[in-house]
Amino acid sequence: MEKLKLNETPVRTSRNFNINNIKLENVVIPERLGNFNHVTIKAETSKIEISNNTNPIDLTYGLGEELTSQVAKQANQKLKVKIDSKTNQEIQIGFQFDKENTQLVDNIEIEANEDTKSTIVIKYDSQKDVEAFHNGILKVQAKKNSKLNVILVNFMNLESNHFLSIENTLEENAKVQYTIIDFGGKNSITNYYSNIVGNSADNRLNTIYLGNKDQLFDLNYIAELRGEKSNIDMQVEGALKDTAKKHFKGTIDFKKGCKKATGNEAENCMLLSDTARSLALPMLLCSEEEVEGNHSSSAGKVGDKELFYIMSRGFTKKEAMKLMVKAKFNKILENIKSEELREQILNEIDERLN
């Protein structure tokens, strides 16, 4: 079977480093899709327009031609969310994979208009025994002075494939915050691109990933800063157990003209087994003088001292580990206001670390 080549980095490095792209074996892109009907949407529809009038697909990066074109031609779920209301709006969209709904190719567009404020939660979940396929595109247009909070939750099982391409455009003074909870999928492959064109636009991206068994995460996050005084913050916290593997490719690109822009990128990986693998490429590209860019990356096991301390308080090693992982993730989880969702995430961590 031909390997599926995905998620190219914006700048290549040596092929021997095995990080310019990801090649997947044994992944079949379904040619004919069934329906996907298990979708729940919660929103105040008098204030938010939800339709299936999505625009033609046009991505700067994306995961790759094959997957992008599948969404363009075959999407079995199209959603356009248009936010005009100035009062704070919350929209919840849930996709539940089950025996009748195993293949989802979704195209979601969010248009946050001027001066609006909103939170959107998109959740992908699957029944345990379903071998699901998900390929989605999420496109966000954040207009002048809009504030948008996007929470993406991937709770899919470990037999499934999860592919997601995200593209954001931030206009002047737009504030877009993402919280990505990436736990599911045998393969979880994400391409995230932000085009930060507006002056003083601000993009914050917080991700937690948790890998066990032979899961593979390939996260390709790209932010291009074009607006003056614009900002990108990427914070990625993860934990890997068993033979799980993670590739993190984070690019902050200061384009010419983004004077006084700032960019920070921090990626930390907790290795919970001696067979887990963390591969990281935190890139800083800079064509502008008056900017400030920083990145940091770290990897290592849970500190023996900390473990010992917690265990001395009566916890088993496994419980102590879970506590450490949750503590590490806590700062990012605080971005989620819904207690119910936070609780679900914490339960999921417990279950996945068992």
């Binding site: 700048v11 092929r15 990080i19 001696d274 935190p282 003088e289 770290s298 290592g300």
Partner: protein, 466 residues
Amino acid sequence: MSKTKLDEINRNIYNIKNKDEYDFKIKKGLTPEIIEEISKQKDDPKWMREFRLRALEVYNKLELPTWGPDLSELDMNEIATYVRPKTSLSTSWEDVPEDIKNTFDKLGIPEAEKESLAGVGAQYDSEVVYHSMKEELIKQGVIYTDMESAVKKYPELVKEHFMKCVPVHDHKFVALHGAVWSGGSFVYVPKGVKVDIPLQSYFRLNSPESGQFEHTLIIVDEGASLHFIEGCSAPKYNKVNLHAGCVELYVKDNAYLRYSTIENWSKNMLNLNTKKAIVGKNAKMDWVSGSFGSKISMLYPMSILNGEGAKSEYTGISFAGGGQNLDNGFKVIHNAKNTSSVVNAKSISKNGGKCTYRSLVRINENAGGSKSSVSCESLMLDDISISDTIPVNDIRTDDVEFSHEASIGKISDKTIFYLMSRGLSEEDAKAMIVRGFAYPISKELPVEYAVEMNNLINLELEGAIG
């Protein structure tokens, strides 16, 4: 508003052009016949001739890199890969022809030899023209000679190590090197011998439209230590010159090697060099690297930490001015328990120059208890330059401490203001900041090189803060 103006490196000394006189210059291009001819001219033993031809086959099979700077202007049909100067190897400067000797005089090599070096090798185009070492080191069994003599005098030692650390399949320019290599130094430091004063090889390329492909092979045996310095320069010509040298370093158990390089090639040079060290148990390999010259540079020294407790440290600075694309960095493979690596890389870009820091840290499954710490900082001196950081961190086991941090930015206005409030002029404040930025590197260099580097970083300011 005017900007901070950093002087271009004064190249007058390096730009001395001698007449392109040679004893033999191979015709341009790369064919088996040309390789055979080089081999014949060099009077290679049979195994080396066969090695060259095999390397050429590999070269023809490998692709150009699909990443990094654009190398499309390199046309091997326009490069003469072997130029033998009009002299043979001497052990006395008196015997070196006047024009060549004058060049090295102006570069300060004989003077440095008298004052602060234990041995010197000087290569002019494709051949080593001068080689000498202090008597007491010879008595201790230290070997320091040109590579051709080593192939003939120490065939077993050379065969065992030659292009084993850097195999010809590594990449296209290593294969090219294997086919056309000429010159370079061979050093062997016997067990337990500490060479306290550095050895230095200086490489000078005078001939236009040619390449230099010197091979440096250093073996520091168990418990021994050495500091080796490598310098290189060339006058500027209109068409590209090529440097594709290869450095192979074997640092055996408990040994120590410091390899310092000041690279100041002319700005028509494509510097596609390869350097690699294999480091044994509890041994230490230090790299100190200053990269100032070249039009394009792709250079990523590599340490393979094969012995338990092996250590490596890399300290490097790149300084790219107008028309320069310096793609430099470091690679380290942790391949045994309790190994450690420290990387401290800096870059300065100005006048439209481009600096890229590209790296790899790999901690393998068998390298539990290892530590690695990487820091890289980039300074942008104007808004027409480019600075990129492309590091790969590949961690394959849990029992490690790994951290990487990088930052990019311009000279902080606040810091300038602070220094000026302490009575410094703006010019002096900026000069102090840039020198301070480079200090962690310059302090690792031998004194005369540190002075040279500070001279290179000579600030000139005009008007207000840019």
